[in-house]
Point group: C2
Chain length 241, copies 2
C-alpha cells in the first residue's frame, strides 16, 4: 500500500517579506518523513482571505492530510480559522469547549479574557480541537486539514498531538553517500543505478567546498532498508575505484 | 501604480524530506522586498514532472515574475529545464551558446565535457541565458519565468543578475515595534489603527521569551515612510501609557 500523502500550507506575510526564516516547514518535513507520510507540496501564502481559501481547497483535494501553520492568534491579521471554515462551507463562531479551555487558562494566569482573546475560541462546527500545552488556545482538525499555530514551540507541540493520531506508512529508509566529485562525473553511474532500481528514489544534492571544489551528497531512499544499503555500497564502489 | 508581483517555485525533494532547511526562499524574499517587488506565494514541489509543469503554469499566469530554484544540474533528477519548456510549449535541446560557455569553462578547468555535463546546455528556444559566475552552467529566463540553480551561492549570484534587469516598484518601508505584552492585549489598539490606515499593512508576529512570557513584534509596512513612522509612534504611545 502506498504511503499516505501530505501537504503543508504556511500562512504568513513574515516569510514572504523575508523578515522571518521558516522553521516550521523544516520541522514538519522531518517529522512526516520519519512517520512514513510523504510530504508532496508546501505552499506559502500571505494573510489574504482568497489566497488562503483557494490553497486549502486545492491541497485538501489532492493529498490525504493538509497541515497549516500560522494565523490563528487574536489580532486582526489572524484570519486562518475563518478561511478554513469558508473553504469547507462550515459555520464558525466562538465555541463553548474552546472558550472553556481559554477561560480556565486565563483564570489560572490572572489574564483578562477580552474580545481579542475570545476570537481564539472561534472554531468551525464539526472540527476537533488540537491541544495547545504552551498557551492553551487550541488548534483544530476540520476534514483532512490540521490547523496549527505559527509560533514554533506551539506548532511543534501541536504536530506531536496530530501525528500521534495518524497512521503512517512504512518509514522511508535514507542512506547518504558523500562523493567529492562534480555532479557531472556522478551523473552517469547514478542514472544507471536509478534505472536499474525503480523502487528506490535517488537524489543528488551538490555542494561547494570552501576551496571552491564541488561535491555532492547522493541520497538513496526506499522502504526496503537492505536494498537501500546494497545500492549505496555499489555506488560507493564505483567512486572508490 | 501597484508594485510588480512575484512567486517562487522551489524544486526539491531535499526540502520536502526534511533533509535540507531552505535558504533560497529566505534570500529571495528579502531581495524582492528591498527591490519593491511583492512576493505573493511560494510553492515547494518534488522532482516530479507533472507537479513542476502544473505549478509553473499556475504561477506564471497569476504574477509578473516567477523565480525557480533547483533541478538544473547534470544528474537524472534534474528535470526543471525540460519541464519549463513543456509548460510553455517550447522546443528544448542542447543550445550552441550554452554549450560554448560550458566548453570554455571545462577547457579552463581541465574537466571532461561528458554527456551528463552536456545536459546542462539544454536550454529552451527563445530563452535568455542567466550568467553563472560560480560554475558556468547558465540559468535562463523564458517568458516571465527565471530558472536558477539550487546551490545557494549560485542561486544568489543568479538572483543578482536577474534583479539588475527588472524594474521594481516603490520600495516598502517597514518599521517594527516590539511590545512585551500578549497579543491579546495588543489586538484591540492594533486593529483600530489598521482600520484607520488602510494603505498600510500591519502584522503581529508573536514570540515567547525564555521565561515563558509572550510578546510580539508588530510590523507596519507601506510605501509612505513618514506615515509608517507616525503610526508606529502612535502605537508605541498606547503601550507606553
Amino acid at each position: 500500500m502506498p504511503n499516505p500523502t501530505a501537504a503543508m500550507l504556511v500562512i504568513g506575510d513574515e516569510i514572504l517579506s523575508g523578515r522571518t526564516r521558516d522553521a516550521n516547514m523544516y520541522h514538519l518535513a522531518g517529522k512526516l518523513t520519519a512517520a512514513g507520510i510523504d510530504l508532496r507540496e508546501v505552499r506559502v501564502v500571505s494573510d489574504d482571505r482568497e489566497a488562503i481559501i483557494a490553497a486549502v481547497k486545492a491541497l485538501s483535494e489532492t493529498v490525504d492530510h493538509v497541515f497549516t501553520s500560522g494565523g490563528i492568534g487574536p489580532t486582526h491579521d489572524d484570519i486562518t480559522a475563518d478561511c478554513i471554515a469558508a473553504a469547507f462551507g462550515a459555520h464558525i463562531d466562538v465555541r463553548a469547549d474552546a472558550r472553556a479551555i481559554l477561560a480556565a487558562h486565563y483564570a489560572k494566569t490572572g489574564t483578562e479574557m477580552n474580545a481579542a482573546r475570545l476570537r481564539m475560541a472561534r472554531i468551525p462546527d464539526g472540527a476537533e480541537l488540537i491541544d495547545n500545552p504552551v498557551s492553551a488556545a487550541p488548534g483544530f482538525t476540520l476534514g483532512n486539514v490540521h490547523v496549527m499555530a505559527g509560533v514554533p514551540a506551539i506548532f511543534q507541540a501541536m504536530v506531536e498531538s496530530v501525528l500521534a493520531g495518524l497512521s503512517g506508512g512504512a518509514p522511508l529508509v535514507s542512506e547518504t553517500l558523500r562523493i567529492d566529485r562534480g555532479e557531472g562525473d556522478i551523473a552517469g553511474p547514478l542514472g544507471a543505478l536509478a534505472a536499474e532500481f525503480p523502487t528506490l528514489s535517488m537524489g543528488s544534492y551538490p555542494f561547494q567546498q570552501p576551496d571552491g571544489r564541488f561535491g555532492a551528497n547522493v541520497v538513496i531512499r526506499g522502504t526496503d532498508g537492505a536494498l537501500v544499503r546494497e545500492v549505496r555500497a555499489r555506488l560507493a564502489d564505483v567512486f572508490a575505484a
